[in-house]
């Protein structure tokens, strides 16, 4: 008997039944097709959107993410340049080929040199957009794809994320809802290879339980938060 049949058979024997009949399987299929939400803490869901944005920033800063708030996309190049200068970092960045970043007037800061593509071992600073962000714990949600190579999130010492305030949602569940909406819109064919939830820069407590930043991933995680989220997204478009 193959391992597969043996294991499944063993499970059924232990559960004292055969394979599920069609009716029972259909009930479970239906549950998977429309996943129910479990209990979601009220911490973020009880707030209005400006409150969720504030919570996101507070939670992110608590885990050593730095957050810089700017009014508009046009302000991003200046904010990035100022951050790099303040941290004594080079102005060479590897940036995702995501067209979202094309809307930013990089040319106004010619000192910033952006290479678009995946990250290599030598890249010091990476720049990406985010798919969403979760207020509950100050967590970024990034997804992989041809325009969003995963290596940028992990190889460079510094990771800068451009996030619009209207991308901030209350819970991880809201993030899953957005992901499913995206998938449905793309004809059910677009589950990304990877979803990265990122909450602060890399860290370890493995030596005497003392926390050190920058274990293997980025030492710094910096968010340029654009806008206040008020106007961009009509209420009807909120996941929920």
């Amino acid at each position: 008997m193959s391992g597969r049949e043996d294991i499944l058979g063993g499970i059924r024997k232990a559960l004292k039944r055969g394979p599920l009949d069609a009716a029972a399987a259909a009930v479970l299929d239906a549950r998977l097709a429309a996943p129910a939400r479990n209990l979601i803490p009220a911490r973020a869901t009880s707030l209005d959107h400006p409150g969720q944005v504030e919570l996101f920033v507070a939670m992110a800063e608590e885990v050593q993410t730095t957050v810089d708030r700017v009014a508009a996309l046009a302000d991003v190049p200046q904010a990035v340049a100022a951050y790099l200068a303040s941290e004594n970092l080079p102005a060479d960045l590897v940036a995702s080929p995501d067209p979202v970043l094309d809307d930013i007037p990089w040319a106004e800061r010619p000192m910033l040199r952006l290479r678009r593509g995946k990250a290599e071992g030598g890249d010091k600073v990476g720049l990406t957009p985010a798919f969403a962000a979760v207020a509950e714990t100050g967590t970024l949600m990034l997804i992989s794809g041809p325009q969003n190579p995963t290596t940028i999130n992990f190889l460079p010492d510094t990771h800068i994320v451009v996030l619009r305030a209207d991308q901030i949602v209350a819970s991880y569940e809201d993030g899953w809802t957005l992901l499913r909406q995206r998938q449905a819109a793309a004809g059910d064919a677009a589950l990304p290879r990877t979803v990265n939830f990122i909450t602060g820069p890399s860290r370890t407590g493995d030596i005497e339980q003392r926390m050190q930043l920058g274990a293997h991933g980025p030492r710094r995680l910096h968010i340029v938060l654009v806008g206040d989220g008020a106007a961009e997204r009509p209420a009807g478009e909120r996941p929920g």
Binding site: G3, L15, P35, N38, A42, T139, E173, P192, T199, E208
Partner: protein, 476 residues
């Protein structure tokens, strides 16, 4: 790893006599409890989430066959492959075959307890493939050729000086006179050394904290980011997972994740929570070209429908370990195999046999803290009792351990452990009992307190209070 659980008693005596270990334990164990407590207190829904976690896991186990088949279907749909493995041997062979298919020379590894369970590193080395542990703690103990001593903090039994020593003797390409005093420097050195290894590896192996049936995904959580480099850079990503890691949906996984970090490290959320589904898609610029899931049974399916089924809910958070007075006194290596502490005392006899590990369930004061902090409410003390009954039935216990007194006898016949425990227990239990002022159960006296409450100790032992009073008297 070869179990040495049969030598538990000798291991305990050795651990209690090891001054360095005792210092490291003292340093490490103090942090876990308060960190978890403050994270839990910050989330009013935590208790309700525990109940949800328990329910999700129980419902999944009822339909385990269905969810595993669904998982496999979805993994396949996204271009990955599931390998069903009954035994550690089958799992090792499956990993080796995948490595051989690309003529792999080196394999990077994220932290995986299943890799420890199947003793993968030794096997790969025997087959001329070099495994490189990338979690800092795992890397340190790999250099020292020792097993992990804790589920989530594998090197927590070491002091930084010991880490410095092994770095100096292993990283011979670096200046031997360099200073390695600061943990920061040690951390940076490991980063420097491991970075090229990440980039050069042919295969990356990670564990899984959850498998999601709905999407065919595996989820890992790390704080270092090593798991992500491990699975993103090489040509092949292999996920090692035991079959009870399965949950139905992303929402279910989310509930588990809300419990996991808080219970484990007291974090609100781990730094990196990564969901992976299949190999790179058309047009992706990076990510592995192959995605394999090694699905290991190793005796778990046979726990279904038995008094040990509840153990299959375990999410390996280590909270029971971090709050265990016995573990605090002796550390993880004494348990002699991969899984230490209360969860290990229940699981190890199941996985390596009662003859090897039958003593472990006696290593309990039955204080009940493990169950009270377990995020999925596993009745650990009850299951340890089951084991003792079985051991008794099989007449494996030496005489003093029979007649329902085995735990007490085990402790009482080891004065050093007894003493260590009463010291630890007074401190930790004073904090624990404070809210109620009374214990319903007291370590070392379970039979007595099961029928009446005892006042919570005020945090000092009789001896220390006595000494103080004598001093006060003398000063008068």
């Amino acid at each position: 790893m070869q179990p040495t659980s049969h030598a538990f008693k000798a291991n305990v005596d050795k651990a209690l006599g090891d001054a360095t270990l005792q210092t490291a334990l003292g340093l490490a164990m103090l942090g876990f409890g308060p960190k978890r407590r403050s994270a839990v207190e910050r989330l009013p829904e935590f208790e309700a989430l525990r109940e949800e976690g328990r329910r999700i896991k129980n419902q999944t186990l009822e339909h385990l066959d269905y969810y595993l088949e669904t998982f496999e279907r979805n993994v396949t749909r996204w271009g990955g492959k599931v390998h069903w493995c009954r035994t550690p041997g089958e799992a090792r062979e499956a990993v080796l075959a995948i490595c051989r298919s690309v003529d792999a020379k080196t394999v990077t590894k994220g932290k995986s307890m299943i890799a420890e369970e199947i003793a993968l590193n030794d096997f790969l080395e025997e087959n001329k493939i070099t495994p490189v542990e990338t979690d800092l703690g795992e890397y340190i103990i790999q250099l020292r050729h020792e097993p992990p001593s804790h589920l989530i903090a594998p090197a927590f039994h070491l002091l930084k000086e010991q880490v410095a020593d092994v770095f100096r003797s292993s990283h011979t390409e670096l200046d031997p006179a360099r200073s390695l005093v600061e943990p920061r420097v040690l951390c940076d050195e490991a980063r420097e050394i491991l970075r090229p290894k990440f980039l050069a590896a042919d295969v990356g192996i990670t564990g899984a904290n959850c498998l999601v049936a709905e999407t065919g995904s595996s989820i890992i959580v790390t704080n270092e980011g090593n798991g992500d480099l491990t699975q993103t850079l090489p040509k092949i990503h292999i996920v090692l997972a035991s079959l009870e890691k399965i949950v139905p949906t992303l929402e279910d996984a989310t509930t588990i994740l809300r419990l996991l970090a808080r219970s484990a490290t007291g974090q609100e959320f781990s730094t990196y929570t990564t969901m992976s589904t299949g190999p790179r898609r058309d047009g992706d610029l990076d990510g592995p070209e192959q995605y394999h899931v090694i699905l290991l049974d190793n005796g778990r399916s046979a726990m279904l429908g038995t008094e040990f089924q509840d153990m299959l809910r375990c999410i390996r958070c280590a909270a029971c370990i971090n709050h265990c007075p016995v573990f605090s006194a002796v550390g993880g290596h004494a348990y002699g195999w991969v899984y230490p502490g209360p969860m290990g005392s229940v699981l190890t006899p199941k996985l390596v046999g009662v003859a090897e590990a039958g003593h472990l369930p006696n290593a309990s004061t039955f204080c009940g803290r493990c169950e009270s902090v377990c995020p999925v409410k596993i009745p650990l003390p009850k299951m340890m009792r089951h084991w003792r009954e079985r051991e008794f039935e099989q007449k494996l216990s030496p005489a003093p351990y029979r007649f329902g007194l085995s735990a007490w006898a085990f402790l009482a016949t080891r004065p050093a452990l007894y003493q260590a425990l009463t010291g630890v227990a007074m401190r930790v239990l004073a904090a624990f009992g404070k809210r109620r002022g009374h214990f319903r159960s007291l370590p070392l006296a379970g039979g007595w307190t099961s029928v009446r409450d005892m006042p919570a100790p005020q945090g000092r032992s009789f001896q220390s209070l006595w000494a103080e009073r004598q001093k006060a008297k003398a000063g008068r």
